[in-house]
């Protein structure tokens, strides 16, 4: 039996070819998970700016208010929302419900995530 190297395993893991909705949902779930873990580390680092006093905090806030950070915010919100909604889908399937509607559940979760992201980003832009 042929054994795969770690890199081959990682490639197989993210290769979309020949995947159906369940597989695509799984890959997106993992990619958003990695993105959110990286964000969590950044978020915890951000708290140290608070401990360094008002100047450090206010200059940090000034930086993240730059329009370019809105792109990152949009990706973050989509990642969070998709991860949560798809997590509910996976839990429902794991409990043995809805197995016959896998594809519809995936597309429902994906479309709902896009819509909720659009609503939240619009609200953030409106608040300013």
């Amino acid at each position: 039996m042929e054994t795969q190297s770690t890199w081959q395993k990682i490639w197989t893991w993210i290769d979309l070819r020949g995947r159906r909705e369940g597989g695509i949902g799984f890959i997106l779930m993992r990619l958003t998970a990695i993105g959110l873990v990286v964000y969590l580390a950044l978020h915890l680092t951000m708290i140290s700016n608070l401990a360094r006093g008002p100047e450090a905090w206010d200059s940090f806030i000034k930086l993240v208010k730059l329009p370019i950070f809105m792109v990152g915010d949009t990706l973050l919100i989509f990642g969070l929302v998709y991860h949560a909604i798809n997590g509910i889908r996976v839990t429902v399937l794991g409990l043995g419900w809805g197995g016959d509607h896998q594809a519809a559940l995936f597309w429902g979760a994906f479309v709902l995530s896009v819509l909720l992201t659009a609503v939240m980003v619009t609200a953030i832009v409106a608040i300013g």
């Binding site: 395993k9 990682i10 959110l36 873990v37 708290i47 905090w57």
Partner: protein, 106 residues
């Protein structure tokens, strides 16, 4: 492990929902200024909520990291060390987060 991932995930939806709404939508203009953030974190209820969220989010994230690494078919011995390492990392991350927040509000 799957069921704990689901339970912490469900808790996170609630805790993160409250966290995002209070921080970004209830406070006028969001919590932007230093004094606003300090005043917000100084509320004991908020401190407890943020600490609970930190514990749950770190547990959920590290269980997720383990399940991603398990997909690479690691040995049982490596998994034992992985579990120990992630547990230590989790405790350190929560301690760091609580300590930092305490430094800000005290």
């Amino acid at each position: 492990m799957w069921i704990w991932q689901a339970i912490t995930g469900a808790l996170l939806i609630i805790l993160l929902g409250v966290h995002m709404v209070t921080q970004h939508f209830i406070a006028p203009e969001g919590l932007r200024y230093y004094e606003d953030v300090v005043a917000y974190l100084s509320n004991p209820g908020v401190f407890a909520l943020e600490t609970a969220m930190l514990i749950v989010v770190v547990a959920h994230a590290l269980m997720g990291v383990r399940s991603i690494i398990l997909d690479l078919s690691i040995s049982e011995q490596t998994d034992t060390w992985l579990k120990r390492g992630l547990t230590v990392l989790g405790v350190l991350l929560v301690a760091y987060g609580v300590f930092m927040t305490w430094q800000v509000v005290r």
